[in-house]
Amino acid sequence: MGTLDFNIAHMLAGALMLASMTMLYQKRLFALINIYALQAVILALSVAWQAVLQHAAQLYITALIAFLFKALVIPYALHRIIVRLRIHREIETVIGTGPAMLAGMALTGLAMAVMLRATANVDLLAREDLAFALAVLLLGLMMMVTRRNAVSQIVGFLSLENGLILAAAGTQGMPFVVEISIAFSILVAFVVIGVFLFRIRERFDTVDLRALDAFRGERRLAEAFPATTACNEGDEMP
């Protein structure tokens, strides 16, 4: 493998991670979806480049699926959902750019430290790819944790999955079936979540997940009976 080949692969993986970082602090939903589409394009390029390097024809199909679904279909559908839900003007409260960057950098550093150490005897490209993939995954998870809006949580979940595809494509010998099934499960998850979004909207007139929390009966139950019988119960002498 030449240095140029490696550098291109490296750059694409790095760009993928950069897109994840950028998503962390997006306040507007349209911007978020656009960056997600950009990430999907980068993923498709990255997988295609892997196909060139590994001479693996099936990876072209993976790249094509990634491009078609993730860069075109899903962003378009999300756009429509946002418009139909009329939340395109909403501004989400997210953590500030500075803290988001710091946290993202810390996560990336952690991912590097773990992966580079764990895969000491794997070839260099796979190592780098795995490290970036883990970083993308952690960033996606962090996005799901920090966001309150259901749509942005979906985007976080989808970008998390991009990391998985990157890892699967980067390692040689990953069966094609696995990639296909990942792609399809994501699609199903997307459809299901989309349906649920409308349901939530119909019922609560918002897609802010805090409304769901308030609806759940357990919380109110727990507040009604704080510390029921604990700490002062016991039986008499046998």
Partner: protein, 667 residues
């Protein structure tokens, strides 16, 4: 008899259990099931006795069941054979007793399916030769006996007893599981022979001993792990109570011996001291609880705690003598412990069967509501008296022989070199003496209140003698108690192979096989037959003299009634009156007992009241605190039930981050 035949008997028990689940509503099911149990138990008893008396060599067998890569290992050696005898003698007598007693059972379909399974499980524990089979049978034994405890589950007290029992039983099994995990060593051996091979570090050995004391001790009823025992044993039907108290606690003792003596190869002096001290405390506390108890079956259950203490004193002595290099004395103490195991299984079964007979006849277990039963149930009263004398360690009965042997082992204490032991062994001796004396006081109370005096209530007045199956069983056990007391040498020489297997030595064999010689004939010996003949002669002469010179025909006169000529039976001495001096002496600190008189205000016509309070410190200071702590923690953890999706995600996320950091920093 080969071990395969014994295992076939166990399989028959299990088959019987399944069968009775199907047919238990038939008219004759009770008789058929108990008859079959009796027959199978007799066969297994025969197998154990033959193996013990012929000094047969060990037999092992591996069955391709259980864990796929190890199979189920079984072994019949001398120790297992001895405990087979104990288990199946108890099983046979209980089954025969149940032929009569079981007819009064209101819900036989709750008892019959579990009874053979319980017998099978106890036999399997004794025969098991690998950790998996052992724990499986142990747990089966717990569950089957739990089901029997819950037979009359509609009574609130029984449900509580069952709950506490199942918690303690699971805890005990968990402790044994951990002990086996430590014993299995780096090779990860399941089979006992593989565990024996390697030597553990002192710390590991101490932890194993601690875990076994918790695990087997909670089953046997060591203080303060005994709390379930006086609740669960009385809750079961009486023949099962007899089995649980007389036999199942002995299976727990077997587990302790098998692991500590067999697998661990003994403990150091410190470990032995711990066992000895626990035994002493258990013996004294058990009998004190019993004295303050007025429920007949609960009282008997507390006496089981006391006797387990005596057995553990013997085992602790064997451990310290072994650690100090006195194999002969270790054999003496071990023989005493095993002999007491056997004796206790006899008289405790007898007493529980007697209590069952009393309960069937009067519908109550409360001693304050009984009285005068010697006139209504003379035969039961006679055999119960034998049981009382045996458990109070009165010669010529068997309880005396084994407690005397334990004392003989204690008297050898001065040969020990460890300074702590030099002081602890006499203390243990004093505790044993105290426990024996208090036990005698307690059974004076039992017999005096239940069988003597005048009936206190209507049911006690109208009681009738129990059925002939129960009487035959109790008479047989009473006869065995007497025989084991008169010819203790015969029984202890039967124990020799088991003692030799575990301690590497044995008590001296001697020409006069009738007498019991702990160390050498010059120092001390006990001949039960001479004592028996002497007692019979002395009693005969005394009776003759009293008849001859004490005046002629019996005359009837008013009974002495404390100078208060009232007819009411409530004026009699009560169980509470008997216990009062003991409560005054020991109760203040050990039970935080208090009694006060509550006077009505002047002018009020209300009666004055004597209010007594007793506190079970083991229950309040240990169990209630643990329960409260567990509830507190559960309450805190309850918050995790009602988090939002985002919070759950955050928990996953931070756990992942934490694990990744651990991975980075440590590996």
């Amino acid at each position: 008899m080969s071990i395969a035949a014994l295992l076939c008997c166990v399989a028959l028990f299990i088959a019987l259990s399944l069968l009775s689940a199907a047919v238990n509503r038939l008219f004759n099911a009770t008789i058929i099931i108990y008859c079959a149990c009796f027959a199978i138990a007799l066969v297994m008893l025969w197998g154990g006795v033959v193996h013990l008396l012929t000094h047969a060599s060990d037999m092992t067998i591996v069955l391709p069941i259980g864990l796929p890569w190890t199979g189920a290992h079984f072994k019949l050696d001398a120790l297992a054979a001895f405990f087979l005898v104990v288990v199946n003698l108890g099983a046979a007598t209980a089954s025969f007793y149940a032929l009569g007693y079981g007819r009064h059972e209101e819900a036989p379909h709750r008892v019959l399916p579990f009874y053979p399974a319980f017998l099978a499980a106890m036999n399997l524990v004794v025969l098991a030769n690998d950790a998996f089979t052992f724990l499986f049978s142990w747990e089966l034994m717990s569950l089957a006996s739990w089901a029997l405890v819950m037979a009359h589950h509609r009574e609130k007290e029984n449900a509580r007893a069952g709950y506490i029992y199942i918690v303690m039983a699971s805890f005990g099994t968990l402790m044994l599981l951990l002990a086996f995990a430590l014993l299995s060593g780096p090779g990860g051996h399941y089979v006992f022979s593989g565990m024996q091979g390697h030597v553990l570090t002192p710390l590991r050995a101490a932890v194993v001993l601690f875990l076994v004391l918790l695990g087997a001790g909670s089953k046997a009823g060591i203080y303060p792990l005994h709390v379930w025992l006086p609740l669960a044993h009385p809750a079961a039907p009486s023949h099962v109570s007899g089995l649980m108290s007389g036999v199942m606690t002995k299976v727990a003792v077997y587990g302790f011996i098998r692991i500590v003596f067999g697998l661990l190869g003994g403990t150091g002096e410190d470990g032995g001291m711990a066992v000895l001290a626990l035994g002493g405390i258990t013996a004294v506390m058990g009998v004190l609880y019993a004295l303050l108890q007025h429920d007949l079956k609960k009282l008997l259950a507390y006496h089981t705690v006391e006797n387990i203490g005596i057995i553990f004193i013997g085992l602790g002595l064997a451990l310290v003598f072994q650690a100090d290099g006195h194999a002969a004395f270790a054999a003496l103490a071990f023989t005493a412990a095993l002999f007491h195991v056997f004796n206790h299984s006899l008289f405790k079964s007898l007493l529980f069967f007697g209590a069952g007979a009393v309960q069937t006849a009067t519908r109550t277990r409360d001693m304050e509501r009984l009285g005068g039963l010697i006139h209504r149930m003379p035969q039961t009263a006679f055999v119960f008296l034998v049981g009382c004398a045996a458990i109070s360690a009165l010669p010529p009965f068997n309880g005396f022989a084994s407690e005397w042997l334990t004392f003989q082992a204690i008297i050898q204490g001065p040969v020990l070199t460890h300074w702590g032991l030099k002081t602890l062994v006499p203390v243990a001796g004093a505790m044993l003496a105290l426990a024996a004396a208090l036990a005698a006081a307690c059974f004076v109370k039992v017999y005096g209140i239940v069988f003597l005096g005048r009936p206190r209530t209507e049911p006690a007045k109208s009681a009738v003698e129990t059925d002939r199956f129960s009487l035959a069983t109790m008479s047989f056990l009473a006869l065995l108690c007497l025989l084991a007391g008169i010819f203790p040498g015969v029984f202890t020489s039967g124990l020799t192979p088991a003692v030799h297997e575990m301690t590497g030595a044995q008590m001296p064999q001697h020409a006069i096989w009738l007498s019991l010689v702990p160390v050498s004939a010059v120092r001390s010996s006990y001949n039960g037959l001479f004592i028996f003949i002497f007692i019979v002669l002395a009693a005969g002469v005394a009776a003759f003299v009293a008849r001859r010179f004490g005046g002629g025909a019996p005359r009837q006169a008013p009974a002495w009634d404390c100078g208060f000529p009232l007819d009411d039976p409530a004026t009699q001495y009560t169980a509470g009156s008997f216990a009062q001096p003991i409560r005054r002496v020991f109760g203040g600190h050990l039970f935080r007992a208090s009694a006060r008189v509550e006077m009505p205000p002047p002018g009020s016509l209300a009666p004055a009241r004597l209010i007594r309070e007793l506190h079970d410190l083991a229950w309040e200071e240990i169990y209630k605190r643990i329960a409260a702590r567990v509830l507190c923690i559960a309450e805190r953890l309850n918050r995790f039930q009602v988090l939002s999706l985002r919070h759950y995600l955050s928990i996953v996320f931070f756990c992942l981050i934490l694990l990744l950091m651990v991975l980075t920093l440590w590996f």
